[in-house]
């Protein structure tokens, strides 16, 4: 009986802590929103982190939970971003955006609400992923990586192609995309997307994904349809990559095909690796750390003077070198990333601190002796 009570007590404590955390996050966001002119830099970092968090979790769904090494994220983001942008640029602004080759009359007068456009973007990405999945998902690890990378590149080439100028505005890109109205918009959107993926991972589908990741042949022997499972994971991940692409378009307010180069996929991959492959909270944490880290490390790009001596290393580009070296250190020495395959939990945190305290106490005891 008492054990049961203890569990209940723990549960209640965890719920209270979670509510407190949510209140804290909302409070911080509210405060930033109220003073958005003073904190605009910080707000933009947080918004970008949220966008990256969604796409990092979606990449983790495929790479970490289903064990498919897919590198197509940037392509699906591009699809989502372009669909969102095309349907949300205000009709009155369109002639000035498509000033070079005009706009295709079919889409010229369709303006959709942001959320609808974003979901449409996600659906387009998911549809393309479903088509791509048929040939590509039959391939094994490295081949899959290269093939998805290739597809992302094909999607980008098609977007930039002059043949589609009246739809995508070719290499000139799209601008005048409506931005986020407040910081709560990306917060709620990303919370919903990540929440959905967490539910999916904890459902029976999620267990199927993990079974495929651990051992394809064993999973097949247990009656799991390999292809269907992989396709499902790939399509859902692409849907959310598309949605996050839409969010990125809204965040940046102007996009072109160069935004979605392979480097973007690599950035997302780094977030996933640093956070821990196979950990949702790790990916979210990674998104914030990597995005904020890039900004914080910005001082490496400025010339540094100690007294009157110019330290020669500090000049533009140094930040990214430091960043990539840090990444290599993580890959080589902490291959599990921040969270490994663990998830954040209050019990884990409290246990960690208790253990930490105990260890310290023991050390003190040992020293006293």
């Amino acid at each position: 009986m008492s054990a049961n009570k203890l569990v209940n007590k723990e549960k209640r404590r965890n719920i209270i802590l979670s509510l407190l955390l949510i209140a804290l996050v909302l409070g911080i966001c509210g405060y930033l929103e109220a003073n958005k002119y003073t904190y605009s830099y910080m707000i933009s970092i947080i918004e970008r982190s949220m966008v990256y968090a969604v796409v990092a979790v979606s990449m983790n769904l495929v790479n970490g939970f289903t064990g498919l090494f897919s590198l197509g994220q940037a392509g699906f983001m591009a699809l989502g971003a372009y669909v969102t942008a095309i349907f949300t640029i205000p009709v009155s602004q369109r002639p000035s955006v498509y000033y070079i080759s005009g706009i295709n009359p079919v889409i010229a007068n369709i303006e959709l609400p942001v959320i609808v456009a974003m979901i449409l973007g996600g659906l387009v990405a998911a549809g393309v992923a479903a088509l791509i999945g048929f040939p590509v998902l039959r391939l094994k690890s490295d081949y899959l990586a290269i093939a998805t990378l290739g597809f992302a590149e094909i999607i980008r080439a098609c977007i930039a192609a002059p043949q589609f100028d009246t739809i995508t505005n070719g290499s000139y890109g799209l601008k005048s995309i409506p931005g986020f109205t407040s910081i709560f918009q990306p917060l709620i959107l990303s919370a919903i997307c990540i929440g959905f993926m967490v539910l999916l991972i904890n459902s029976s589908y999620g267990r199927m994904f993990k079974a495929v990741r651990e051992d394809e042949i064993a999973a097949e022997a247990m009656g799991i349809n390999l292809f269907k499972t992989k396709e499902l994971s790939f399509v859902i991940s692409s849907f959310f990559a598309g949605v996050s692409g839409g969010m990125l378009a809204m965040f940046m307010r102007s996009i072109d095909s160069k935004t979605f180069q392979v480097a973007l996929t690599y950035d997302i991959l780094l977030i996933v690796v640093i956070g821990g492959i196979g950990s949702v909270t790790g990916s979210v944490l990674g998104a914030f750390i990597v995005t904020a880290g890039r900004e914080i490390l910005r001082f490496f790009d400025e010339p540094l003077y100690i007294g009157s001596i110019n330290v020669p290393l500090f000049r533009p580009g140094f930040r990214m070198v430091i960043f990539s070296i840090l990444l290599m250190i993580v890959v080589l020495f902490y291959s599990k990333g921040l969270m490994g395959t663990n998830e954040f939990s209050w019990n884990g945190i409290i246990g960690f601190f208790k253990n930490f305290g105990k260890k310290k106490a023991k050390k003190v005891e040992g020293a006293a002796r």
């Binding site: 690890s141 290739g150 533009p316």
Partner: protein
């Protein structure tokens, strides 16, 4: 299109293909032994371009060339030692991520050291001299590339088939663990593989950039990926396959550019990749493998 234009385009394609073939060999050899797509290989190729710029700035060309080859080899072997060797027993995904990390690092390093602006590529005397052959006119390097490629490939195949080192390489690529039980020094073999791949990448880079005139930090990533596709096309692990794949990709790309679809010329490579993986996953000359539990 007249016959002369057609032949002219063919010549350009073959020349580009020769450079691709040399880089593709690096991919195919490393993949054959380590089962790793060396994502950094394209960037080693790019770095070789920069080394050439700096070597030529202070040295006469006949000293600069060997210096570039040596430095590039050192870079390739060094990367293997630092980034891949510690991960020998790690899951394949980690090694691949490490490779992507190295590629990212090299690109950022190049941006930092040499700025993102394209730098002019120096000219080795004689290479750019234009020759007339019937109605065709092309620089010496265009004629030299395919010939040099074939000579190097011939030497490489001889090395692999007829020397003890080559035998060790073949053994390691067949079965890693058994080879080490037979007393083959795995690490040395792998280092030599990387060295050969890097030398060929450096030669390829000299031939490629002499035609392109400029180098910038990202000029290695796309050719790198194309060469990997070439290696897959020919059957990964097979050197003649990589050469055939390199020539085909180079010619196909040139044909598309000539036909006016230059935006799709990059996409074309990946379409080929997907078609070949679907129709013949082991490539043209690849060996069949069976799945074991």
């Amino acid at each position: 299109m007249s016959l002369t234009t057609f032949l002219q385009q063919c010549l350009t394609g073959i020349s580009l293909g020769g450079a691709y073939a040399l880089i593709a060999i690096g991919y195919t050899m490393v993949y054959g032994i380590l089962r790793l797509i060396n994502f950094a290989h394209g960037d080693i190729f790019m770095m070789a371009g920069y080394f050439m710029i700096f070597a030529m700035a202070s040295l006469p060309w006949f000293i600069a060339l060997p210096v570039v080859l040596i430095v590039t080899t050192a870079l390739g072997v060094g990367i293997e030692r630092v980034a891949y060797k510690p991960l020998r027993s790690a899951p394949r995904m980690s090694v691949m991520i490490s490779a992507i990390g190295v590629s990212y690092l090299l690109q950022n390093l190049a941006t930092y050291l040499f700025t993102a602006l394209p730098m002019g590529y120096p000219e080795v005397p004689g290479l750019k001299k234009v020759y007339q052959l019937g109605g065709l006119s092309a620089s010496f390097v265009t004629f030299l590339t395919p010939v040099l490629t074939l000579i190097l490939v011939y030497l490489l195949i001889t090395l692999i088939q007829h020397t003890k080192m080559g035998m060790a390489m073949r053994a390691v690529s067949k079965d890693y663990e058994t080879a080490s039980l037979m007393g083959i020094d795995i690490n040395r073999t792998i280092s030599i593989t990387f060295a050969i791949g890097s030398i060929l990448a450096a030669v390829g880079s000299i031939l490629y950039f002499t035609d392109r005139m400029t180098v910038f930090p990202f000029s290695g990533s796309l050719p790198g990926m194309k060469c990997f596709v070439a290696a897959v096309f020919g059957g990964i692990g097979s050197i003649p396959g990589a050469v055939v794949g390199g020539f085909l990709i180079g010619m196909g790309e040139t044909a598309l550019v000539a036909a006016g679809y230059s935006t799709f010329s990059d996409a074309f490579t990946f379409v080929i990749l997907i078609v070949i993986l679907l129709v013949r996953p082991t490539g043209l000359f690849g060996e069949k493998t069976t799945n074991k539990v």
